[in-house]
Amino acid sequence: MTTTQDIIQRRSQIITTFKEELIRRLNLPYTPEDIHEDVSLLGSGLGLDSLDALEIVLCAESCFKLKFPEDGTSILRSINTIVDFVIAEQDKQQGGQQ
């Protein structure tokens, strides 16, 4: 049975991995703790542009070995929405292997 602690641990690991890679790739002037998971990635918030958006997609794809849908704008709203997508894809992949 999955406990609350399991959910937190899994999510926390994905968030940390993704933030560290994002900071490295985009050379962001923050530590992972400085970036709130709900902060807007594009436009407001971190203020990233469309080129950065591509880098975010590549970052998530390489970190978690998955593929973003062609029109994935809605997934890129925040780190949390990306993490939701990663978790859903991982669950799908694990379901497919069973």
């Binding site: 436009g43 949390n80 978790i87």
Partner: protein, 348 residues
Amino acid sequence: MRTSPLRDKLAALGATFTEQNGRELVARFTDRAAEYAAVRDNVGLADFSFVQVFRLPEAKGIDLLDTIVAGNVPRIRFGRVLHTFLADENGMLVADCYVANNDQELIFLCESIVPDADITGLLGPDAENLTSTHVLLNLDGARAYEVVKETFGPDVLGLPYLSVEVYQFEGTPAYLFRAGKTGEFGYQILASVSVAGSLFDKLYALTQKSGGRCVGFDIHQELRLEGRFFNIHAEGKRVRDPLVLGLQWMIDLDKENYRGAAAIKARRAAGLKQKIVGIAADTGLAVGDEVVAICHSDVLNRSLGLAVLPVETAYSGLSYRLSSGTTVQTISMPPIMPKSLKVKLDEV
């Protein structure tokens, strides 16, 4: 109490007014659901003249503002707008600010939770106070671009988010800021009181043509939360610590001197103990204890909120029992996909 130059027009349209720190503003008109739908589907016109506005000559303004706000003012490129905040000496929030770089001048828009005089006193004589000589009108919505395009021409479609451009309206300069806080297209128009009435009439007529209506600040606050934009008047006023609120992105972390810098740096070094997180419930939420902001999402038909929780539990995707006994779900924000994100302005 400071009132809007457009008060009579707004009252005639059914506005209900409220007061905040000595400033009168429109709380709402007559139909909350219609105001919500106007912004999410079409366009909402709102009077934001309660926001304080200042003009500073670039030469003096850069240094002055840079020693006050948390963001990096010298780095603002021409034609762009910096979204940042103003704190007190304890590093606690006082105002949500835009600083716009318009050639030889800086325009400072300040949405504060303190009386006007506190901000005016801070800026000193080099800042020209435009607050009572100008009006600030907001257009927000999935079709807001139609209204500004009709008013100022098709060039406005090329304005990126957080930018400023000056247009002419009846022979007087009108500053157009692309800077919404709802998740939909957002524009703010700053114009002289001398043309305020005719500008409002024109924008209102075009707003109606695009299926929109006048909206008040109450619905703006709900839409800010639903779009997960920071609201100084809700969670900002209740929490006040920018780090707990996740506003590190508004701070130039390398900057040494700005109001509250030492306190903010010390708290950052000590590490966060609490953090803000989105919550949702099928029943109504109320502000109190952990809950610092609430709204109703008509799109999701759910109550949404923001709660301050211990960092160990501030994760999306959990069931959480609040001190009040209510069980909520922690959620990823923003929980909705704004219609504006599907519109490509270069193809309009």
